[in-house]
């Protein structure tokens, strides 16, 4: 198990390094830099150059890259050119926002999805099964940002039950906080729930048809007991892999949803940084998102390995 862990960690580290190199490659190719945001249309090229010098943007790229790696290894992600604070600060400020939405969306998707999937399996080929499958299929086919817009139209603008956007920090009241993340989290969860539901259903069906279940059945144990004690744990194992996949989709989805709902999260920070060529933030933000994705997948892999010994020997 330790060896497995070590191998996975090493693998993740390599991936992380590759990600950082890729972000640098992207930035190197991107035209424009922050000076063009500070100045308006009729600024002259001399004014631009003057400002670039003042901001230290005129060093050659390889030198900037080496500087950056040296600092990251000592724990400093650099300083945002435009936001007047360190990248780490900017990320940490937004972390709770993005995490709360993504975590809640993930939890909702998993809980509701698993519940729906198991329900469908238990009522295989009867109407609850059909219903769950149809709803799951629709969920997969709806664009999450459009669903978000629809929610705003109906529940915020129409009924006024929720704010039309923005984020209310939890320190300013739990109810306001809940209301501000309800629609974005729901929009994300509903579109991912379908995956989980289908996977859980299939997995459960698989388990229910296996010998040990039929044996227990024959022994006269109650159906519910069988399901809970034997079926459920086994059925949930493949669901773990889906969680890994969804985590990635949720990270991407959160980026767009933050735009739809004007939520100041990490996704919006990075988009803003790309639009204004704030290089340190772009680097730090992309790396951060990649790190989250890798950590989630690592946890999923570990859980999977803990449950299924065959995986460890891979």
């Amino acid at each position: 198990m330790i060896r497995f862990l070590a191998r996975r960690l090493a693998g993740s580290a390599v991936v992380f390094l590759l990600v950082s190199m890729l972000t640098f490659a992207l930035i190197w190719l991107v035209p424009g830099d922050p000076t063009t945001v500070l100045l308006e249309a009729s600024a002259t090229p001399e004014q631009v150059e003057r400002l670039r010098g003042a901001l230290g943007l005129d060093k050659p790229l390889p030198l900037q890259m080496l500087d950056w790696y040296r600092r990251v290894l000592s724990g400093d992600l650099g300083r945002s050119i435009l936001l007047n604070r360190s990248v780490t600060e900017a990320l940490l400020e937004r972390l709770p926002v993005t995490l709360s939405i993504a975590a809640i969306a993930l939890s909702l998707a998993v809980l509701l999805g698993v519940a729906a999937g198991i329900l469908a399996a238990l009522f295989h080929n009867r109407w609850p099964d059909q219903l769950v499958m149809v709803v799951a299929l629709f969920g997969l086919s709806v664009p999450d940002f459009w669903l978000g817009l629809l929610f705003i139209l109906v529940f915020a603008l129409g009924l006024g039950w929720f704010p039309t956007g923005g984020f209310s920090p939890i320190e300013q009241g739990a109810l306001d906080w809940a209301r501000s993340i309800a629609l974005p989290a729901l929009a994300l969860a509903l579109t991912q729930m379908g995956f989980v539901a289908r996977m859980a259903r299939a997995s459960m069906l698989d388990v229910l048809s296996q010998d040990f279940v039929r044996t227990a059945d024959a022994k006269g144990l109650s159906r519910r007991y069988i399901v809970l004690r034997h079926g459920l744990p086994n059925a949930l194992v493949p669901v773990l892999t889906v969680i890994g996949i969804i985590a990635g989709a949720l990270l991407g989805g959160t980026v767009v949803i933050e735009q739809v709902f004007s939520i100041p999260g990490v996704g919006r920070l990075v988009i803003g940084a790309i639009l204004s060529r704030d290089f340190p933030v772009i680097q730090g933000g992309l790396l951060f998102l990649a790190a989250v994705y890798l950590v989630v997948n690592l946890i999923v892999d570990i859980l999977y390995a803990a449950v299924d010994p065959r995986v460890r020997l891979e």
Partner: protein, 283 residues
Amino acid sequence: MSEAATTPLGAMWRRLRRNRSFVIGVALVSIIVAVAILAPLLAPHDPLRNNFRARLQPPSAMFWLGTDHFGRDILSRILHGARISLVIGASVVVVTGILGTAIGAIAGFFRALDEPIMRLMDAIMAFPAILLAMAIAAVMGASVTNVVLALSIATTPHTARIVRGSVLVVREMEYVEAARALGASELRVLFRHVLVNTTGPLIVRLTYVFAIAILAEAALSFIGVGPPPPAPSFGNIIANGRDFMIVAPWITIFPGLAIIAVVLGLNLLGDGLRDVLDPRTRI
């Protein structure tokens, strides 16, 4: 019992025909493709024609789905938008198919390259596709080509993984050993069996890739890195309508419904194909 019924291909086709998902999916997708191809004939108005006196009209006899803030007919734009979205989706499928197969096959065949290639694939998968596409658009401008490029890059790693998986399976198979023992050329044997083994999962995967591409293209257009104006891609229509959601919600609603229809059809198609071609992953 006719001859055709006993061939593996024939049997497969019969199973597909009986699969409800497949049938509905094929029907839906065919209708949409037909509509997209016939869009110039079916569209009641020119999707690009500005008519500023008819701005932001609700659905009416003249404009069945209403007009946008240029006075352009939403129905006509959606019909032409279907073309753009389908072309993008198909292009992504082709590029991913070729790239993913090549990369996956190489990783599967050559053990030495397996680890580094798969790590690179992992690194690419760690990028949210949206951010990747934005960065590419910033570098090279927003266009159909760049959307296809960005989405292909985003979907290739998973495709490669699937192909690689199939290749690995085949390598271990007993009959491959047996065939080799019988002296058949190693490459040819591997090739034939890989092809047979991979095609099923690959087709299923590419169908889903099509669906993913449609959804992703809409999101990218919405953010502003999709096909440039005046192209009526679904995401562009929705994005254009965003500022007018309060006064003209039809601009937002109808293209979304169109997206659902297309993606639903493709998902059904994918499910049907998977039931028959790749039953191991059947859910």
